[in-house]
Every structure is written in structure tokens, then in C-alpha cells.
Symmetry: C2
Subunit: 277 residues, 2 copies
Amino acid sequence: MLSELELIERIRRMARFKDALSLGIGDDCAIYRPRAREELLFTTDQMIEGVHFLADHKPRDIGARALARSLSDIAAMGGTPRFCLVSLAVPPNHDRWIDAFYRGLLTVGNRYKTALAGGDLSHAEKIYCDVMVCGSIARGKALRRDGARAGDSIYVSGKLGKPWDRPIQPRLTLGRQLVGRATSCMDISDGLSLDLHRLCIASGVAAELDRIPIAPGSTLDRAFNGGEDYELLFTLPAKRRAPRGTIRIGKIVRGTPGEIRFEGRAIEPRGYDHFRK
Amino acid sequence: MLSELELIERIRRMARFKDALSLGIGDDCAIYRPRAREELLFTTDQMIEGVHFLADHKPRDIGARALARSLSDIAAMGGTPRFCLVSLAVPPNHDRWIDAFYRGLLTVGNRYKTALAGGDLSHAEKIYCDVMVCGSIARGKALRRDGARAGDSIYVSGKLGKPWDRPIQPRLTLGRQLVGRATSCMDISDGLSLDLHRLCIASGVAAELDRIPIAPGSTLDRAFNGGEDYELLFTLPAKRRAPRGTIRIGKIVRGTPGEIRFEGRAIEPRGYDHFRK
């Protein structure tokens, strides 16, 4: 079993992609030097054993997923990821687990040019991690949830209701394509019904859906109410052409903010809520 | 018991101090607009039930402590805190606990002008939190661990070996005073012997100590090896005057990097290591 200093040194050597940072792993803080005219995006997501994954899942997949979920939030704002901080707590005798976790996380980090800037390591009875990602976007250009207007078309970036444990492909390229075009955007992490409800409340509008694209082998219920799809949900003015591969599912209308109708019937927002009664 | 949306709305209303942010709680990401010529500092620290605190500790104190620990890292780099992200996981039926936790955290946030920019809420069997703080410093001015040179005097910002659960006063004012003066700086979070060892390794030097300031009621062993003091440890060129209230404890010397001597005897780095054999 390695000491904390030895573990941190191993992780530091694994983390090769450091372009974005003035100072990386090893001091009290990491240092980032902002570029001219950029705004910075910040998001963080927890992955907890028994809640978001099971103890027998592969550590490599857990590490990859932990980073990909936060990258999906950067995609939803139209941003480009710069670096991440990773907090991890594990039971004793998890040296090899920690190695595999970071290997999975850094594979995703290298693919999407996201540097590992630092973090925190601790013990705990169960595995816990929290990944913060910082992304970059031109000033004032971030895609938000509050800009959908009556008449806009509603789109998703792919079929919904996929298995919760498949690898996540954060839609970073699509997000950047939507900058300056979409009137609103967010990622679907808790299910279409709940996330579209949130988007409509933020924008003060309602939605009418006429088509739900269901992933092969899935059901309409899972497409509406399953979590963890990590597709983008966005709105475009009616006449604007949508990027290739995206699917129109309905339109924004005036009405009680947050109300969603599908084929004329009201839909309850029943996606994943950690604090549901 | 409240839903996740209701809980987030309550927290959003509690978080009044938002000057630093272009966009706060409620979207996929928070947005920060960097100021001219600033560099940004990033640090994150976990607080886990059964590891860093016990279930019967007051949630208000836990929230205050969770933020103060990360602010201490910003102080150690000479920075000014700007905002934080808070990840929190709690067992069911903890609505009042969550309220009190955020009340404690926001009291510290308001005192040190640190905005609550966002975070993540989840369920878990035990209480877990992770607080990321972003701070600001003029370009190239951050205090680091790797600048101590032979002949420098070593200082601490206060007496050591204090009870681990007393309130933390992050040394932000002192940290800023040291910018442009100290050759190295870090905070003592794992005990003087281990943290000075780390500073000496980063700087490639050794240390000779002649005085250890012991907190009332504490012992030399706790002052050396107890964690959680959150005082600053820093070095100044021999002729430079130290800020008021700081205590000289020895000097930097040439020698095996990381080696520490006290009154002529070698000291083992035995502070707190989460992964100690």
C-alpha cells in the first residue's frame, strides 16, 4: 500500500496533458491563466458507490464516466473544456483501484484535452468521487436554459432511454456548433420530462412534443423518465436549420411555465430526483 | 421532505453574495468573467463523516469548516477568494441538516466575500462533502512551495497543536501580505513535520528548527504531528522583517531534500497521511 505522497506522485506522472495550466498537481492550489476575452464555465458532479454505480463496476469505467458527466455540462453551455479537479475517497487497500480509476479518467481527459489540475484524496468506507471541470467560452456566448421562446423548435441530439451504464459521449462538438444559433440548451442527465420541465421553467414557457426518439430496446417511459442519457436538449428559432444528426421533438409554446404536453396529454416531470418523496 | 428542485431553490435564495459571477446557481454551469491580469487559483477539499467529522457534529460547524479549509489553501498562495462550488451527499430526511450546513458555509462565504456559484446534491448512506474554491491573484505572484532557499528563515502564523475541531480562521490577510516577500508558503493541514517535509522536498532543501510554538494545553508531539492547524508555514530571506504576530521557528539549510532537524536531532515526517501503512 502506497502513502498519500507516493499516490499523488504516481497520479502526477500519469497526467501528461497540462497545456492549460500555469501550475498543476503538487501545491496548495492549481493556477490557471485566463486567455483574452474568455469567460470560464464551472460544473461539478458526484459519483457515489451504491447511488451512481455498484462496487463491482470496473474502476476504469467509473473514472471515465465521472469526467464525462461533467464534460457533458460544459457541452451544454457550448464551451471547450480546459481542466478538472478530482476528489476521490476510497476504502483501504485500493491502490490498484485508484490507478485504474485515474487511467480511465485520463483517457477521457486526453481525448477532450482536459488537464488534470489537482484534487483531493481521502479514505472512506465507500467509494466516493466528485469531478469539477472548468471550461472556456467567448464572453457572453454561453448557451443557457432561459432563452427558449414561443415558436422555437425543440431538439435532442440522439435517441433517449439508453442503458444507464453505457459509455458517455459528451456532445462537445455539437455544443460549440450551437453557440450563436440555439436560444437555449442543457444536457439531459435526469430524464427528458424533468429536464425539459426545468428548461421551460427557466425560460417561462411551455412545450408541446410530438415525437420521442426511443433508443433500440428501450421504452417510451424510459425515454421520458430515465436518467443518464447525456444527450443535449436545445431550442432553435423555427426557421433555423438544425445541425445534422439532431432530432426535432416538438415546439415551445405560451402557457403555464414548465407545462409539457405530448400528443395532447399533459406529462408529469418524473425524471430522476435524488430527494423525491 | 423537499424535492431536489425545491432544495436547490432554497439554497439559491440563501446565497446572496454574487458579485464575482456572470451566472450563478441554476444552469448546467456557473459562469465567471476573469478580470484583467488576474490568474486563478483552484483548490478542493473533502469532508467525510467518520473521517473528518462525526455524525453528531453540528451541521452549521461542518459547513463553516468545509469552506474554511479550502479558503486556507487560497490564503497559502496569497490569493483572494472569489467563489466556491459545493458538492454534498446526505442520507434521506436531512432537509434541516442541509439548511444548517449551508447557513454555516454561507456565513463564512459572506465574511470572506466568497460567492456560492453552484454544486451538486445527492443521496448517500453517510454525509460527504467536497468544496472547491476559486481565488484570484495578480499574474505570476502566487506563493508556492518550491522557492525556499538555504539561509531563509522559517515562520509559522500561530501556535500549533490546537484541538482539531476548533473554528478555522483562514489566514487570508497574512497570505496577501506575504506576496512579493515570502520565498515559499503553504498551509499546515497535515501537521508541521509532514508539511514542512513537503515544502523542503518541493524546494530541494533541508530545515533546522530551534523553536516550536505549542498551543496552550497541547504537547510538542501534537504541535509537530497533529493535523488541522491551518496556520501558514512560510519562508523569508534572513534579513526581511516578518509580519506582526508570526513566529520564527528555524532556518532553511543545504542538505538532503526534505530532511528536518530539531535541536540537532532528525525528525520523522509523521503528520496525517490518509494512506499511511
